[in-house]
């Protein structure tokens, strides 16, 4: 039988390698998926450029951060990037509105089929893709500074006397905190303000909303502003936690879409739940549970293998797997969103 310390050790081990990383990754995905789901709900198309809008906004944050660092500005222990974040958001909003003006409005006036929007967004994706690489290059950029750890593994071990440590990085703590604040603010906006209600009405039935005097251009503009803000925040958090590289942001659209669809596309709550489902699936399916099993059986059972369900190379495939299963079993997602047609 495992004793109490063994159970604590197993819990610490799981927290360190599963719960903490999945929680912060899930929060980053949730913010990204919220943007996708809002654009889908209101503009009625799957925005493939979302990952690159994230990369573009984060790029501005990174550049401003570098500039601030060079000027000697610091808000230690909080990363300098938080000072740069408002500027990044502002530039990302201008970019999104500019793209809407030049690309999407043209198609909106003609009331084209959703698939044409999707293809246009693929074009925007490549444009932003190239622009980001042109400005900052394709390489890794590390812009995190300030304190690194809230709790570090060594301190945790000394404090508790356990054999296993838990590490929580400042970036992970901040990610979760900021996500909670942003999500609360967004839901308050959608539920309580006049504009938020107008957006929901527009999403529910466009013609009825127009008849009741809602200005569609304004609704669309506000949607882009929110989407760009969410994307830049999510991208900055992801970059602080990991690192900024344009290509990885481009790849993020897959788990973000999976998150939005699992939750029910067009449903903000669904995007958040979906983000955590995708993140926890990725981490839990590729984690090797051998050591956990050792603790829980008090060393009584040492498995031959590593008790790993999927090898880590398949991490990326999990998003695909989830997408396929959801579209087959429950195409509307958990919270009964729209079916993509």
């Amino acid at each position: 039988m495992p004793d109490f310390v063994d159970i604590l050790n197993a819990l610490a081990l799981m927290s360190n390698f599963v719960f903490v990383p999945a929680l912060s990754y899930g929060a980053q995905l949730a913010l990204g998926a919220l943007g996708i789901t809002l654009v889908f709900g209101i503009l009625r198309f799957a925005n493939f450029a979302h990952g690159d809008q994230m990369a573009f906004g984060t790029m501005v944050v990174v550049l401003v951060t570098f500039w601030l660092q060079a000027m000697g500005v610091s808000i230690d222990p909080v990363p300098t990037a938080f000072l740069a974040l408002p500027i990044g958001i502002a530039v990302a909003i201008l970019m999104s509105l500019g793209i809407d003006r030049t690309v999407y409005r043209f198609y909106r006036k003609r009331r084209v089929a959703p698939v044409i929007y999707v293809v246009a967004s693929v074009g925007v994706m490549y444009l932003l893709n190239g622009l980001t690489r042109f400005v900052i290059g394709p390489d890794d950029q590390r812009f995190a500074d300030g304190a690194r750890f809230l709790i570090n593994a060594r301190e945790f071990k000394e404090m508790t006397g356990l054999a296993e440590g838990i590490t929580i990085k400042v970036s992970q703590g901040l990610t979760v905190l900021i996500s909670i604040i942003v999500v609360i603010a967004l839901f308050w906006f959608l539920q309580k303000t006049r504009m938020g209600k107008a957006m929901r009405a527009y999403s529910d039935n466009e013609d009825l909303a127009l008849l009741s005097g809602i200005n569609p251009e304004k609704v669309v503009a506000v949607t882009w502003i929110i989407a760009a803000t969410l994307a830049t925040i999510a991208g900055t958090m992801y970059g602080l936690d990991k690192s900024f590289k344009p290509f990885t942001y481009f790849q993020l659209i897959l788990p973000m879409f999976a998150a939005a669809i699992v939750g029910g596309i067009g449903q903000p709550v669904g995007a958040i739940v979906g983000g955590f489902i995708v993140a926890f699936s990725e981490v839990m399916l590729t984690y090797a549970y051998k050591k956990v099993a050792l603790y829980l059986t008090h060393g009584g059972w040492e498995p031959e293998g590593l008790l790993q369900i999927l090898s880590t190379e398949y991490k990326f495939a999990i998003s695909f797997l989830i997408l396929v299963v959801v579209l087959l079993v429950r195409p509307t997602g958990i919270f009964r969103g729209k079916v993509i047609t």
Binding site: F17, A288, Y289, K291
Partner: protein, 396 residues
């Protein structure tokens, strides 16, 4: 009739051209001038061309031939492009031999599909995959870089000497990483060690916590990282330190660089690594020679490149011909004992000795000793990280 005339005039023209080309020997320098190692290759090409210039200036090669370098782009990663480049250099430039290629994948592609079928000698300064030891090369393929089978053995010896009986291994998912991990695992297990888990990692990802989680679950204390210091290797070490999964590492040549210490400092104290290198006087002499000719000799694989070009030219002298079929049989003769030892800057002397019927043992910048299928035996420095600095423990 017209066609026959045209064909015969082309034939005459090309015969005339090849006749004119006899005054100079062309060597192909096929390296990845674009692509992932584009920052490394110009220095390698310069070093190879240094040896060619030394030989040309001496005026002693085959009665005074000059050597001309023709560069081609291997791209490091695109086999089709690399083969096209080699094909072009052989058929339209008429090169006598190839100094190259660089990365293991494209080197194998050129050797298998172009150089060997066409009967052109190829000497790679930097392809280290063990798989290249066993290709069907008909004696045309050589390398002045040691196979990673040797490095795997050295790494295993180091681990054993330090009392590491169990280890987790992660490698970058390509020919280099896989080859090195396999050879390390074979040597280590033969010596009685236990590899608890092997996890490949992809370069260029933002997050390696899943890989590190799996590696940590194996329960091993030490992690072997066979990757690139500016790529996934760094991410793996960063994530290991962050989560407290591993504190010390066994690293190979792709990781043992200054930038590793710039990133991690003394937080990876106790880490041991290997780097190709010797304490032979050739290395210092090469730096001197390079400096006097206005080339910077201090950089990855530059010494090997110089040696590769020098060996080809000495073998030509020994064969008395620029024909690859003849010179391939002389490569081992000039590279190995017996004979007068030859260091960088002494190529003129070597050409003279060979011309007068003597025997040379080319030591060069990297203490070249060609073994088995025509590859360098290879010596490595064992480096230990102490107080955030590399210290050389010994040469293996």
């Amino acid at each position: 009739m017209k066609k026959v005339l045209l064909a015969s005039s082309i034939l005459a023209l090309s015969a005339g051209l090849s006749g004119a080309a006899q005054a100079e020997v062309k060597l192909g320098v096929i390296l990845g001038f674009t692509g992932p190692i584009e920052s490394v290759t110009p220095g390698m090409a310069d070093a190879a061309e240094l040896a060619m210039k030394e030989v040309s200036d001496s005026g002693k090669l085959l009665g005074g031939e000059t050597v001309v370098s023709v560069r081609g782009d291997s791209t490091c990663v695109d086999s089709a492009a690399a083969q096209a480049a080699a094909e072009r250099l052989i058929t339209s430039e008429g090169i006598a031999a190839i100094m190259g290629a660089d990365c293991s994948g494209v080197t194998g592609a050129i050797a298998n599909n172009v150089a060997v079928p066409k009967g052109i000698v190829m000497v790679s300064p930097s392809a280290t995959s063990p798989a290249l030891s066993t290709i069907e090369d008909n004696g045309y393929f050589f390398r002045t870089a040691p196979s990673d089978a040797r490095q795997g053995q050295v790494l295993s010896d180091i681990a054993m000497d330090r009392g590491i009986k169990e280890i987790a291994v992660t490698y970058t998912n390509n020919d280099y990483g896989k080859g090195l991990a396999d050879s390390f695992q074979a040597a280590y297990e033969a010596a009685g060690g236990k590899v608890s888990i092997v996890v490949p990692h992809e370069d260029g990802k933002a997050d390696y916590s899943a890989e590190v989680g799996a590696l940590a679950a194996s329960g091993s204390e030490v992690l072997a990282v066979f990757g690139y210091v500016d790529q996934g290797g760094r991410g793996i070490i960063q994530s290991s330190l962050d989560t407290g999964a591993f504190g010390s590492f066994l690293i190979a040549d792709g990781m043992t660089a200054e930038s590793l210490l710039e990133n991690f400092g003394d937080s990876i104290d106790g880490t041991v690594g290997t780097l190709p290198g010797t304490d032979s006087p050739g290395a210092a002499k090469f730096l001197e020679v390079a400096k006097s000719m206005g080339v910077d000799g201090d950089g990855p694989f530059r010494a090997e490149s110089y040696d590769a070009a020098a060996l080809i030219l000495l073998a030509m002298q020994a064969a008395g011909s620029t024909d690859s079929a003849a010179l391939k049989d002389k490569m081992l003769d000039v590279a190995n004992a017996p004979g007068e030892p030859i260091y960088p800057g002494e190529l003129a002397k070597a050409l003279e000795i060979i011309a007068s019927g003597g025997d040379v043992d080319y030591v060069g910048a990297t203490a070249v000793e060609l073994i088995g299928p025509g590859e360098a035996a290879g010596s490595y420095k064992e480096l230990l990280v102490e107080g955030g600095k590399y210290t050389t423990v010994q040469i293996r």
